[in-house]
């Protein structure tokens, strides 16, 4: 038996213990995902999509399913978006009604436990659950699909406009010495012409080693408008692997902003399929990689129909001995004429020991399209620092001003004031620590 197979053995045992008792269609899905996971195993650095991210530290750790853990409502006050008016809370992968705030949601909106919805909303959930996020070739998606027992479900009926943001909060909680994992699963279905603003937060009330394996499926019906934010603030020794799969129907507008601030090894896959004429997708991201962390963002925008614009701005701040990876794929299918795709990614390197691998990847099969991409990686502009100092700002003030300007391009686009301020406070507090370390060295 090879070493890889040996490592996989406890995982295969884990998926054998997958949850039971769900409706037939879901149980079938879990079974298929389980056998797919067993066949795939974990990706290695020989897989092109995982070249720079070695998941052996995850594969070789014996994680136990995270048990229930007591969480008080007041524990949530420290989170970056503590003022969320509506909140759907999932602790260690399971929905918690006590920690959620879902009263007075508009009529027809469903928000709550995904396990409950699998039976309770049985005419809708099976049409999307496991149908968007493909597990045939993605082992982490397969693992999640096999093992997720619950999760978050949000359904916005046709024509409903929800002006108040809804937060979906995934919490890791419990004994910091317990090495546990949780499958975080989300299904968001926005009906035709509906409108909703969603904040998907991953936060931690525990230290130590744990693993969050997240899959989020988002379906945007015709003309739907979804404004989505992902805030990843896992513990600093945590592993976070996440796939978000977006399907945008005709004339739907989906924007998703990813803020990645925590975690030891972080891998975010964001895939969007422009599945109807005139659909529009914006994927923006800001990540901070410092200390010994690895932050890997993979995005894929798949233009399958004509007249679809897509916009993408990813920015990273990389310091310490951290490594960052950005891979931005844009596919333009043969039918997707008049595509207008624009991708920018920029990274700011704060220390000599930090590194980044970045790759734009365009696959274009149509002939009447506009695709642009640009990547810049660099340190703070010394001439700009001098210019600011020549106007009386100290070296530190000048540097802070430039870093804030760099991050601001993404943070300023957050349309929820409280969330933006919470993110700024969190990011700049972390950066202040990193910069103090650099200055002390």
């Amino acid at each position: 038996m090879t070493q890889v197979a040996e490592k996989l053995q406890p995982w295969i045992a884990a998926v054998e213990q997958r949850p039971q008792g769900a409706p037939r269609w879901l149980q079938d899905l879990r079974d298929k995902a389980a056998s797919r996971f067993a066949a795939l195993g974990f990706p290695t650095v020989r897989d092109e999509d995982w070249r720079f991210t070695n998941v052996a530290p995850i594969a070789s750790t014996d994680f136990q399913p995270a048990p229930d853990a007591p969480v008080a409502l007041s524990d949530l006050d420290v989170l970056p978006y503590s003022s969320a008016p509506f909140r759907l809370t999932i602790v260690n992968g399971r929905f918690s009604a006590e920690l959620s705030r879902l009263h007075n949601l508009p009529k027809g909106v469903r928000a709550g436990s995904l396990a409950a919805a699998a039976t309770g909303h049985g005419d809708v959930v099976p049409r999307y659950y496991g149908q968007l996020a493909e597990f045939h070739s993605h082992s982490f998606v397969a693992l999640n699909t096999a093992l997720a027992s619950d999760g978050a479900y949000l359904y916005i009926p046709d024509g409903a406009v929800i002006e108040t943001p809804i937060e979906i909060l995934f919490l890791a909680a419990g004994d910091p010495s317990a090495v546990t994992m949780a499958q975080a699963r989300t299904l968001i279905v926005a009906g035709d012409r509906s409108q909703v603003r969603i904040v998907e937060t991953y936060a931690s009330l525990r230290n130590g080693t744990y693993f969050t394996n997240a899959v989020t499926e988002v379906f945007a019906g015709e003309g739907a408008v979804i404004d989505h934010y992902k805030v990843q603030q896992e513990g600093l020794e945590a592993f976070h692997v996440a796939t978000m799969q977006v399907n945008a129907q005709r004339s739907a507008t989906v924007s998703s902003h990813s803020f990645s601030l925590g975690g030891l090894i972080v891998r975010n896959d964001v895939n969007a399929v422009l599945d109807g004429e005139g659909a529009e997708v914006t994927l923006n991201g800001l990540y901070l990689a410092d200390g010994d962390r690895l932050v890997d963002n993979h995005t894929a925008i798949d233009h399958t129909k004509p007249h679809c614009p897509s916009h993408e701005v990813y920015k990273g701040i990389v310091g310490g001995r951290a490594r960052a990876v950005f891979n931005g794929k844009i596919i333009v299918r043969q039918d997707a004429q008049k595509t207008d795709a624009k991708q920018t990614n920029r990274a700011l390197i704060l220390s000599d020991n930090a590194s980044i691998n970045t790759k734009p990847q365009l696959e274009i099969f149509a002939d009447d399209v506009k695709c642009t991409h640009g990547a810049t990686i660099g340190q703070l502009d010394e001439e700009a620092i001098f210019y600011l100092r020549a106007r009386g700002l100290t070296h530190f003030e000048a540097r802070d001003m430039l870093i804030h300007a760099f991050a601001g391009e993404v943070i300023d686009r957050v349309k929820i004031d409280d969330l933006r301020q919470g993110l700024e406070a969190e990011l700049y507090a972390q950066l202040a620590k990193d910069l103090a370390e650099i200055d002390a060295a």
Binding site: A384, F386, Y387, R391, L393, H395
Partner: protein, 253 residues
């Protein structure tokens, strides 16, 4: 106000300034002229404390204090202003926000209360019409996408806001058409006062038609080779730099 004694400056391991002596009193305007590569801009940048210029000898006193011992930002807060030959574009930093930070850094240093947003807007309105600075220039990122003329106007606008004791204008006229040159010159002339001094670095006499200097110094080969009144600039315009350069070897920029 400014005493430069035997200043020697290296850039890229090459000695550019080989011993400059210059004495500037409050209220005076000194023009530094000279051919390309004579060291004019090196003098301006060394005074501002640019890290790429290494002072290897000499002394500079600014109001009796050792200027060379100060960080670039301390020099600025003490009242030295340099108008850059090539103002730097700073993406993402709002011009008005930057200007307010600069004004308040100087005010704090002087022990004056910092301006709040309202007071700052009043100051902006007071100073902006002279240099034809419009709202859009204030709301854009610092110098980003500015035309050459807009960049230079923005420099002089900063000078007007910061009210320095000594302003060094490094080839502020380069790349300006005659209209922009007039606006910039008007801005400078409006700032002339008995307690403020100017060092105007320029290649051409044209700027000095508008900003009339008290003294003109000709720099060549890293030394001041001739000093005189404003007539000297006229003479240079007529005869070129050739007659003055004899005996002095030009050095790299």
């Amino acid at each position: 106000m400014l005493h430069i004694k035997n200043l020697q400056v290296k850039a890229d391991d090459t000695l550019i300034l080989k011993g400059i002596d210059l004495h500037v009193k409050a209220g005076e305007v000194h023009a530094i002229m000279g051919p390309n590569g004579s060291g004019k801009s090196t003098l301006a940048r060394a005074l501002s404390g640019h890290p790429e210029y290494e002072v290897t000898g000499g002394e500079v006193l600014f109001d009796g204090k050792d200027l060379l011992d100060m960080d670039p930002d301390t020099r600025a807060r003490e009242g030295l202003f340099m108008a850059f030959q090539y103002p730097v574009e700073i993406a993402g930093v709002n011009n008005a926000y930057f200007l307010k930070a600069a004004v308040n850094a100087r005010r704090k240093h002087l022990g004056q209360p910092e301006l709040d947003a309202m007071e700052f807007m009043q100051l902006i309105q007071e100073k902006s019409s002279l240099l034809e600075i419009d709202q859009s220039m204030l709301q854009r990122a610092v110098n980003e996408g500015f035309s050459g003329g807009e960049k230079k106007r923005n420099e002089i606008f900063q000078m007007a806001l910061l009210e320095p004791k000594l302003a060094v204008l490094d080839e502020t006229d380069s790349g300006l058409d005659i209209d922009a040159l007039k606006i910039v010159s008007n801005g400078v002339n409006a700032m002339r006062s008995p307690d403020r001094a100017f060092i105007v670095v320029t290649h051409y006499q044209r700027l000095l038609d508008y900003i009339v200097p008290d003294y003109v110094h000709v720099l060549s080969g890293g030394r001041i080779v001739k000093s005189g009144g404003k007539e000297l600039a006229m003479e240079l315009e007529e005869k070129g730099y050739g007659w003055i350069e004899t005996g002095a070897q030009p050095v790299g920029a």
